[in-house]
Structure formats: C-alpha cells, structure tokens
Amino acid sequence: MERPGFLPRQRLDDLLVLLRDSGYRVIGPQLAEGAVVYRDIGAASDLPAGVTVESGPGSMRVIKQDSPRQFAWANGPQALKPRLFKPAESLWQVQRDAQGRLSFARCDETPQAVAVIGVRACDLAALRIHDQHFLESEYRDPYYARRRERLLLVAVNCTDPATTCFCASTGDGPAASGDYDLLLDELEDGFLVTSGSPEGQKLSAALALTPAPDARCEVARAAVERAAAVQTRRLPPGDLFDRLFAHRDHPRWSEVANRCLACGNCTQVCPTCFCSRERDETPLDGASSVHQREWDSCFTEGHSYIHGLVIRAETRQRYRQWLTHKLGSWHRQFGRSGCVGCGRCILWCPVGIDITEEVHVLMQEPVHD
C-alpha cells in the first residue's frame, strides 16, 4: 500500500485551491443553523474548527472546544445523499399546443463537477448502496448518473463518533473504504493523505507531499481504532428478514407506534432511504407542465395509497415496513443491510426512538453489551 503523504494543517487551503483550479465546486462541512451542514467552502477557515457534537436519542448539541481540529465530529443531518439524489428535481416537462398535442422533453442540465470534503465512512457505504439502486439495477437513473459522474470524494476517517453511532457493528466504519478519491486522517497539526483513485493520485501528486513518518501513521491508526472501540450501540449481524417477520405481530410494533409521530424524519436523514414521489407542477398559463420528483417517506399515508385504500393505514405497519425493509428485505434487494450505522435516525427522531433498541427488543435480546 502506498505510504500516505503528510499535509500540514496550514496547507489545507492548497488542496481547496487545487480542487477549484481543477474545475470543482467545493462542498464541505460548516457550522450553520446549530449543526454541521455541507455547503460551499471558500477557504479552510470555513470548516468547523474546534467543533464537536454531543448526541443522544432525539438530541444534539454542538460544543466548541479550543482545538484546531476541523473534523472532530461524527456527521451532520445530511451529507452525500442530497447531492446525488436531490430532495426535489424536475424529471421532464411537457408542452401542449393549441391543438392539444403534447411534446415531452427530459430536463437535462449538465451539473457542475462537485468535490465533497469530509465524507464519512457511513456515507461512502450509503453511496455504494445508492449507486447499486440508481445505476446498477435493471433501469439506470440518468439524473443521478450525471451527478455521480462528476463527483469527487475527499473522505476523512472518523475519530470522534457520537454516542448514537454504531458503524463498527454494521461493518461500515469508522475507517473509510470504497469509492473515495482522497482519504484524510486528521492529526493535531495536519492530515495524512492517501489516494484512492487515479484522480486522487493526480491531486496528491500535485500537492507534492512528503511521505508521512511511521509515528504519525500509528497515531492515526490508533485514533480510528479507538473510534470503533468507544461505540456502545450495535445491531445484530446478518439478514434479519426471517427473524423480524417471525415477530411481525410482536406487541412491540404497537408500542413503538404509540411513541412514533410518523413524521418521517428518520427517512429524510437516512443516507440509504431512496423513496420518492412524483407530481406535476403546472404554470398558470396552462401551456406546459413540469413532472417533479421529490423525497417521500414510507411513514406517510400516501406512500401505500392505492385506488381509495391505504395499505399501511396504521403507524405500526409503517414502522414495521421501514424496519423490516432496512434490516431484512434490503439484504435480498442489495445483498447487504440498508443500515450503515450512522445513527442519524436516532439523533433526529423528535421522540428519540432508537433503531438498535427496537431491534433488540423485537428479537428479544439484550440492548447493550
């Protein structure tokens, strides 16, 4: 394996400039609206230095510390998903002429190349799943595809998991693997830089980094190991389809439904949830209509609506659909679980429902080690 290069913290701007000069719009984490969110980054000083996040079921607090570290937090409410699978977008439009004839045209914008800095292991795992779903199934989604083709990923290994994180148990983190172009390990005074693609190698070479000494590599490795060891939540391994369906009438489904608001927050922050609904938006002149796609949630009434009937009328059935899909059916659709252990559904649930706890109760196993 290639020895990582060392990028001193004060040279992080060199990477940003290099990305911009290579034609990328640079997106990265920032502290805004009380959370870590991904937005356009002008300079390294925009990154959330000294920020760490304390989280629990239904709660999150940003804490400022006197530290130069810019990636000492686990994740924000969103990362890659809205970049590729847009919360709302136009798929096609139709013009109607005076004779009532219709002409359809795909909405075809060529997106700008985007580089995202600060991508986590959980989000890379989720990206792989969405690539399978939108690019590698029987039909290819051209809207997702053209953004995916123009995406560069700068991953950062996670050293500060939140208490809601459980990526170690799903096998997706905290060390990043998969389709990154560059991988950073954050140290006190800078970053180890490893390339993961030809594009990443080019960037790495252009930065003209000195090879990182063993001692620094060892510090980075130990930090990631510790990030795995401190996680206390976990999910049982493997395809839970049969076990969950064997408990499909378990009283816990009704119990969790009494707490669940069916708000769909969990599905909106989940990096693997892919449901979308379609609707027309029609300008007032009546001469055209735009067919839109937007994120949907299996917690809505409309999700299972069919000619006058709602198939999953009760919250109990909707929560069961979400959980059995995520941890059961998903294995049969994608060859792996739909959960990457990011813990967002726990943190952003307004009533603090914890997927790991629900699964363990449903399968009648102890919650924590």
Binding site: F134, S137, S276, R277, R316, R332
Partner: protein
C-alpha cells in the same frame, strides 16, 4: 440496462363506457416509429400520463398479437382517474411502458388453464385469455371465473359470451349481491371451484383481484393439490416510477412494478395475506 425514459405522446382513438364508473380507452402512439416498435406481454402495464395531472399505472387490455390496439380500462376512483374519465377521442395523453413481468405463457402451454378474477381484476387477464384462445390447440381445458361485488358491476358480457362459446372452455360468473336479471352464481367466486372440471395438480392458475379474494382462492387451490409454483397472482401497489426505484410498490423484498406485477405463489407465500405489508 435501460435508461429510465420519458412519456411518449398517445392519442385516444376510441372510448367505451363499460359501466357508470368504468370506461375503456383505446390508444395509439402518435410517433410512427414508436407505434411500430411497441410490443407488450400479457400482464404488463403502462404508466399513463394526464396532462398537468400526473401518471398512473394501468394494465394493458387487448391482444398482444395486435399491439396497435392499446386498450386500457379504468375505474373512476381517484384524482387522476377522474381526470382520465373526461377524455374523448382525439385527446392526447402520455404513455411510458410497457413495464413489469407478465403472465407465465410458456408454463401454461399444454396444460389446463384456470383464470380467476374479481372486480376490475379481470382487465389484466384479458390479453392472456386472448392469447390462450388464439392458440387454443396448445392448451388443455380453459376455465374463466369472474366475481363481482354486485351484478351491476359486471362488464364485458359480450366478451365472456364469446369466450364461453370456445371449445373446452368454461365461463362461470359470480356476484356477491345480484339483481333479478343475474343468471350467474350468487356468492363468492371461490364458491365456483367445485363446478370446475380441471386438473388442478398439473394445470396453471392466473389470478387477479382484491387481496382477500386471492388469499381465499389461493388457499382452496393448494387444498385441491395445486403446487405453489402453479398459482400466479397479479398484485397491485402504489407505483410512481415503474422502474423499481421510487419504493412505493415494495412487497417485502419485491418491487412489484419491476419484479412483478405477476408472481408465482411460491415467491410471495411468506407474505401473502398478511395485512399492512
């Protein structure tokens, strides 16, 4: 791999009012190339788009050997179908399709064929009936069972009479509630099974209709010795993309739009009849 497409323009060339709430539209693709290359298999569906309103999945009625007669039958029940109900010949709509996997035509060859439908579930099987009867000598006995809630809901009397006149073909009708004119059976469609002269063990059944009807009929067929790979259902779910991506049509691990809508019982028996799946 296919790229997800956009609608093609289609013209309404004929309209038939089947009942106060059921109507059929015959469609023709406007573009000559699209019209010539369009093919469908019995049991597949199209996404039909009403200008400014939206798209709905509607199964293709008609004869696959005559693909230029693209017929669709609608029940006026929701926002979009109420809009479609206003269409007249000459009006234009959008059409994406065909989608999904259809009926097991190969598996039905040289076997007895039982068709069981309830309500407007009869629409998705019309093309398979046409296909089987077009190739009458390649199939065994054929039985067609159609049940309706009320005898007034019964449509396509002429079609059923025509099928009934075919050799070795039984047509049996049932109405839960029947008016004085009704000459068919009074009760559930499953009550007709004992009148059938069919080889249930080696024959093949194709079924479409309300969930409780299909659950009860499936159970009866199993009891009569039919194997779970010989009973086929067409399922209905909310569908918006029709290409297995929007997530609405999921039925356990299946995407009904892409993996179905037609499934053998063997593939779905772990979920079949469970409420809220």
């Amino acid at each position: 791999m296919t790229e997800r497409g956009i609608p093609m323009e289609a013209e309404v060339v004929a309209r038939v009012d089947e009942s106060p709430t059921i109507f059929s539209l015959s469609l023709k693709l406007v573009d000559g190339d699209q019209h010539d290359s369009y093919r469908f298999m019995p049991g597949q569906f199209n996404m039909l788009y009403l200008y400014g309103v939206g798209e709905i999945p509607i199964s293709i009625v008609g004869d696959p050997d005559q693909p230029d007669l693209l017929q669709h039958t609608f029940r006026t029940v929701g926002r979009v179908t109420r809009g479609f109900a206003r269409l007249q010949p000459g009006d234009r709509i959008g059409l994406r399709g065909p989608f999904g996997r259809g009926w097991p035509l190969e598996a039905a060859r040289n076997r007895d064929v039982l068709i069981v439908t309830g309500g407007l579930g009869c629409a998705p099987v019309v093309p398979v009936i046409n296909h089987v009867l077009n190739q009458r000598q390649q199939h065994g006995r054929v039985a067609i069972l159609q049940g309706v809630k009320h005898s007034d809901d019964f449509i396509w009397r002429g079609r059923y009479e025509q099928w009934d006149a075919e050799p070795d073909t039984q047509v049996l009708l049932a109405a839960d509630v029947a008016g004085p004119e009704w000459r068919g059976y009074r009760g559930r469609v499953t009550g007709l099974f004992e009148k059938l002269e069919l080889d249930f063990v080696n024959g093949i059944t194709m079924m479409c209709g309300p969930g409780p009807m299909m659950t009860a009929a499936g159970q009866q067929l199993l009891e009569r010795g039919a194997g779970p790979d010989r009973i086929w259902f067409s399922l209905e779910r909310n569908m918006q993309c029709a290409v297995g991506q929007c997530g609405h049509c999921q039925y356990g691990e299946k995407f009904v739009c892409r993996d179905g809508p037609v499934f053998p019982y063997a593939d779905i028996q772990h979920l079949f009849g469970v409420r809220g799946i």
